[in-house]
Subunit: 201 residues, 2 copies
């Protein structure tokens, strides 16, 4: 029997981590941080209990990695869209059109749930709250100037751009929550409704 190549090992590891991450995503979204168990994550991943600890030092670290991915990928997506050409209002509209399906359907909707779980009950995870506050600040830093630009163009309603950004993001997170309980209704909410928070009357 020839020894496994380093490349093959790397692939096995990547696959295991992938399985654990996917399972953890669904378990945390469903049960919350405290309610989720490592046993359940291992089962849903189809791996043994011990192996999860081979790849992640602790339950908190599994959760942190999910939160980080959720934060970084949405931030990257936002910045990409907001930096494209077009008027400020058009760029905000384009972002909404991406955001709404993401928050309400598909795999990425789970990440919105994870963020919700993290924000509501991750006080027990050391440093997580600070990290979230730090990274979500980026949303405001990126959004506020665009909103201000839209105000100057006469498209967006008057008011503190950061407050408007807060309203916008709150609305979005709230929608992700309602998908669980009123799925059909929540999925009928349109990007236009989200934009109505910012639109000049």
């Amino acid at each position: 029997m020839s020894p496994r190549g380093e490349l093959q090992n790397e692939r096995m590891r990547a696959e295991a981590v992938e399985k654990i991450t996917a399972a953890a995503l669904s378990v945390f979204a469903e049960y919350g941080y405290a309610g989720a168990t490592m046993k359940r994550i291992a089962e849903r991943a189809g791996l043994s209990y011990g192996l999860v600890y081979h790849y992640f030092p602790s339950k908190a670290d599994v959760f942190r990695s999910l939160v980080d991915f959720a934060l970084e990928s949405t931030i990257a997506g936002m910045q990409m869209i907001l930096n494209q050409p077009g008027t400020a209002w058009e760029r905000l509209e384009r972002w909404s059109e991406v955001l709404i399906p993401n928050a309400l359907a598909g795999a990425s909707s789970r990440y919105f749930l994870i963020m919700l779980q993290a924000m509501t009950q991750a006080r027990t995870v050391p440093g997580l709250l600070e990290h979230i506050n730090e990274r979500t600040a980026v949303y405001f830093q990126a959004l506020a100037p665009v909103i201000r630009e839209a105000q100057q163009a006469g498209d967006a309603v008057d008011g503190d751009p950061e407050v408007l950004a807060t309203a916008f993001l709150s609305f979005l997170q709230g929608l992700a929550l309602f998908v669980f309980h009123r799925e059909e209704l929540a999925k009928s909410v349109t990007p236009e409704m989200l934009m109505s928070v910012l639109r000049k009357r």
Copy 2:
């Protein structure tokens, strides 16, 4: 020593239940259902561990009583305001003006957090999810006709009234979430912003 009167006993019980409820409200809001412990609730109430179980059969029951109070009191408040005289739009505005401060400040803001916790991670509490879905249906049943009336009067935007109600309530719940992380910003959100979701353009 004269025996305690029945009246005095009743008062002691009411006081203990009050203390437990207040403590549980803050602990559940802070840690979530699974993360909260009966020990912590007893400590925060300033009572012994055993006494909590003397008044509540289980942790789930403590939580359920909070969720129930949150649901029933907001439903009662909503129905009272929506049944007052005035145009449909005026009544919706009046409700928003009550809702925003409630969701964002004071003791009742905690109840919004409890509802959030219940909706995100109360799968483990038997029957709770069904109960929530049942009772929140009342919101839609009460809101939809008023929104439809406002549409006919030309004040509210077109679209399925239930979907609009979903957007409205999602926004509100999302705001309650952001109070924890961006308190000053969230508190600057106005009833007018909430109403913009429904307003005809």
